[in-house]
């Protein structure tokens, strides 16, 4: 088990660092490319869409809303989270710099199937097709 988890932890830490640096860049106003806006709707007990495809280096803004109760949005691998209150829009900016699949999930206990409320962001190499 340890052999399976340890590389994942190391990879996760590296990914988080890369994303942190990306976010820092954006906050410093250094990002030049226009941001693509991706709308994500949360409801019991799913996100729509449940898969987001991005490319390395592509700046995006995730606009997250909730249709029913308070949900959460958390990507532990990338150190990102937001509260999704009904009637409000949460915005999360990111510029992925590493390919991979990143799971996000609800971290605000929302009901009977809360534990299965998750979706994924898939980051592709910039020259690959979705």
């Amino acid at each position: 088990m340890k052999r399976m988890v340890t590389p994942l932890v190391a990879w996760t830490a590296a990914s988080a660092l890369i994303l942190f640096l990306s976010l820092t860049q954006i906050r410093s106003g250094n990002a030049q490319a226009p941001e693509r806006v991706i709308k994500i709707t949360a409801h019991k007990f799913a996100y729509e869409p449940d898969r987001i495809d991005l490319k390395i280096g592509e700046p995006v803004v995730l606009e997250l809303t909730s249709k029913d109760v308070t949900h959460g949005f958390k990507i532990p691998d990338l150190g990102l989270r937001a509260d999704l209150e009904p009637g409000e829009t949460a915005r999360v900016r990111l510029v992925p710099e590493k390919a991979g699949t990143f799971e996000f999930y609800c971290d605000n206990f929302c009901g009977i199937d809360h534990e299965n409320m998750s979706a994924t962001i898939v980051v592709h190499e910039s020259d690959s097709s979705n």
């Binding site: 088990m1 399976m4 988890v5 206990f109 009901g111 534990e115």
Partner: protein
């Protein structure tokens, strides 16, 4: 004069861990507490039960959802030496969005555990009990969600990391914890009971407390702290600094090892080994040395 008995020594002599004790050895072990002349620092033991999830339905994980908890109660009652007290570390019931069902399940759970011989029982909510109503129903049945008690020179602290649906202890509780520990003798022994792990065991599966690191920072100031928790439905042991954290098995369905599979789905029931990986534990407290010996028990003996 009644002879004193060291229960761990007795276990060694018996060559067993938690099997039936011999009787008629010249000292009284009947009743809820070991009788005799106990000093305040005398060893004692308690039983931890966790994650009973009363109301759960899922035959692929447990085809005996209404029988498992009563079997566990019977197993605890069958212990030859009854514990000094019993603690349930949360998820007494399985979640429901219907407040009436929630109360019905809490009431049924309370009725079942009322059959335990030892009625010195400490409760705390899990997220299934309390996260949808900030533990309002839980408190109607079992009282406060975080509190302290003292037993034979050990200071016990119950922490609530579930009533906030974002898995936070919250600033008020953290301040309360800090104030409580500040009042303790620096060398006193402290045991914490909580539902979720205070450290980041596997946040992807909600196996963490959002502000748990702040609680650990407070606890680290104290030299003798041990944490017992539930939530992850399996035995697990981890150190954060000098603090040992011990997770308990569930009494409804086991869960896979952290991160061992994509989804946190229950381990399927195996008819060849029913109730496998379900159980409860005894914790023998060596007060003078702040040591806690754990013995795991199955729900039913094969």
């Amino acid at each position: 004069m009644a002879p004193k008995i060291d229960r761990r020594e007795f276990l060694k002599l018996a060559g067993i861990g938690g099997v039936v004790f011999a009787s008629g050895i010249g000292c009284s072990l009947a009743g809820n507490k070991v009788s005799g002349t106990m000093s305040k620092n005398e060893d004692f033991y308690f039983v931890q039960l966790s994650d009973t999830h009363w109301g759960f339905i899922g035959p692929e994980a447990n085809p005996d959802p209404t029988g498992t908890l009563p079997k566990a109660v019977a197993a605890v009652n069958a212990l030859s030496v009854q514990p000094d007290f019993i603690v349930f570390t949360g998820d007494l019931t399985h979640t429901t969005e219907d407040p009436r069902d929630r109360r019905r399940r809490l009431g049924e759970f309370k009725e079942i555990v009322s059959k335990l011989k030892v009625q010195s029982i400490r409760f705390m909510p899990g997220e299934h009990d309390g996260s949808l109503d900030k533990s309002k129903a839980f408190q109607e049945f079992f009282g406060p969600t975080y509190y302290t008690f003292d037993y034979r020179n050990v200071h016990f602290i119950i922490l609530d990391n579930v009533s906030d649906p974002r898995a936070r202890l919250g600033e008020a509780q953290l301040q309360w914890l800090n104030a409580d520990l500040s009042k303790q003798n620096p060398n006193s022994k402290v045991v914490v009971f909580t539902h979720r792990p205070l450290f980041d065991l596997y946040p992807q599966w909600d196996w963490a407390t959002t502000d748990g690191s702040q609680a650990i920072d407070i606890l680290l100031k104290h030299p003798n702290v041990t944490v017992f928790y539930g939530h992850i439905h399996q035995e697990h042991h981890r150190m954060t600094g000098h603090i040992a954290h011990h997770a308990a098995k569930s009494l409804m369905f086991p869960l896979p090892a952290p991160g061992s599979q994509p989804k946190r789905t229950p381990v399927p029931w195996n008819a060849a080994t029913p109730y496998k990986n379900l159980g409860f534990r005894e914790v023998e407290a060596d007060v003078n040395h702040a040591k806690y010996d754990i013995t795991e028990y199955p729900v039913v003996r094969s």
